[in-house]
Symmetry: C2
Subunit: 209 residues, 2 copies
DNA sequence: TCATCGTTGATTGTCGACAATGGGACGACG
DNA sequence: CGTCGTCCCATTGTCGACAATCAACGATGA
């Protein structure tokens, strides 16, 4: 084992995966004892994992009562997109950073990955490469806290993408194409356009992808 | 007791207070067993509280090793300010919300509180009213996630203010005056100016207040 | 002398058990 | 028939004990 994954982290991942794949739909109650038994760990471990999921906005914990998988309203979705957009916009407002060419190259690579994922109908891979794409943007500023805040929205963003796509709101290819403008703006070194593209990407129609 | 404060929450508050008041200076190691004994609670409770502090950025937890009070570098300070500025700017970019007059009034009230706190050398009250002031700004958009993210930076912002002021970097009155421009912009309904004032407030000289 | 390796002590990670809470079922009372 | 109070149960909150981990130290052998 190269990387130590603590027990709570492993449980967190498993639960996160289930929620994102709708194996645990919204409003599902999460009972510590049940999960503990299922995973073969103690309730404390489950509690720990649930805290993380709460921080990510995937579940809501009502003290002394219960925990429940969060339901995302339309407003929530816009909310998440708006916040992500604000963070990414702030990240680039000072320019492209010292390596614009490399950034463009990395973005293009991520976009290629997305494209492949779209053609193979691999939703997991699509979400992953989308995250990677935007991660490059949020890292432009080099500011740690900007990325920390951004990361907190990752899970919800992923959930949002999946539900949008599965509802056939948008096709996989369409999802990929919506990133093209961002890449172009970076490739051309056109900062105002980049910021406009980001806004379009996050705030129009609705939903990321 | 009107409001239920769970044990971990109470412990968290106590520790937060100590850290912000430098009773637990940066680099201090936090040993679960010691704190558990001191507070008369179990280690699990302490662990829980420490998770919160970690999320707020006040302590760092190195798995399987130790927990330590975070030291904020100059870069960290700028980082926090930058992120807060980005969030508050995003909050107002769509306008003042439906009740600009009331907002201005509330801001003025908060500013008065700050002023009083400054005159009575009440650092706690100053930080509290500063938080309140900016909270009004971040609530303009009515977007929950924007405020959630903003809130995560609250503790660090408080720590930052205190250390800046105690180092005599700026006087208490000066700290109050730096908010005037923001209030004026709101009072005059001058959105571009408001956004400029926010940037000045957070990004010039350095440090909030 | 120096590198290696087991030992040791301090600390965190995990667990199972018990206590406390709050909702809902059920029955008494008006 | 509706309301209130009591009891019970499911579930979370808290605890103390044991296991695992890791750095520091010292012993061992070349």
């Amino acid at each position: 084992m190269l990387e130590h994954v603590s027990l709570p982290e492993a449980v967190g991942r498993a639960l996160r995966h289930r929620i994102l794949n709708n194996e645990l739909p919204a409003e599902t109650r999460l009972v510590e004892a049940n999960l503990a038994a299922e995973f073969g760990v103690s309730r404390g471990t489950i509690r720990d994992a649930m805290r993380s999921l709460q921080a990510e906005g995937l579940i809501a914990i009502v003290p002394r009562r219960y925990s429940v998988v969060t339901r995302m309203s339309q407003e929530d979705a816009e909310d998440v997109c708006f916040a992500r957009c604000a963070l990414e916009d702030a990240s680039v407002e000072g320019g492209f950073g010292p390596h614009r060419k490399e950034l463009a190259k990395a973005l293009r690579l991520a976009l290629d990955h997305m494209s492949i994922a779209a053609r193979t109908d691999d939703l997991d891979a699509l979400v992953a490469s989308d995250t990677q794409f935007h991660e490059l943007i949020i890292e432009v500023s080099g500011r740690r806290r900007l990325k920390d805040l951004w990361s907190m929205l990752n899970s919800q963003m992923g959930a949002l993408m999946r539900s949008e796509i599965e509802r056939q709101g948008i096709g996989l290819d369409d999802a990929v194409e919506r990133h093209r403008g961002i890449l172009d703006a970076v490739a051309n070194g056109d900062l105002p356009r980049l910021r406009k593209e980001l806004r379009d990407h996050y705030l129009t129609g609705f939903g990321d992808a």
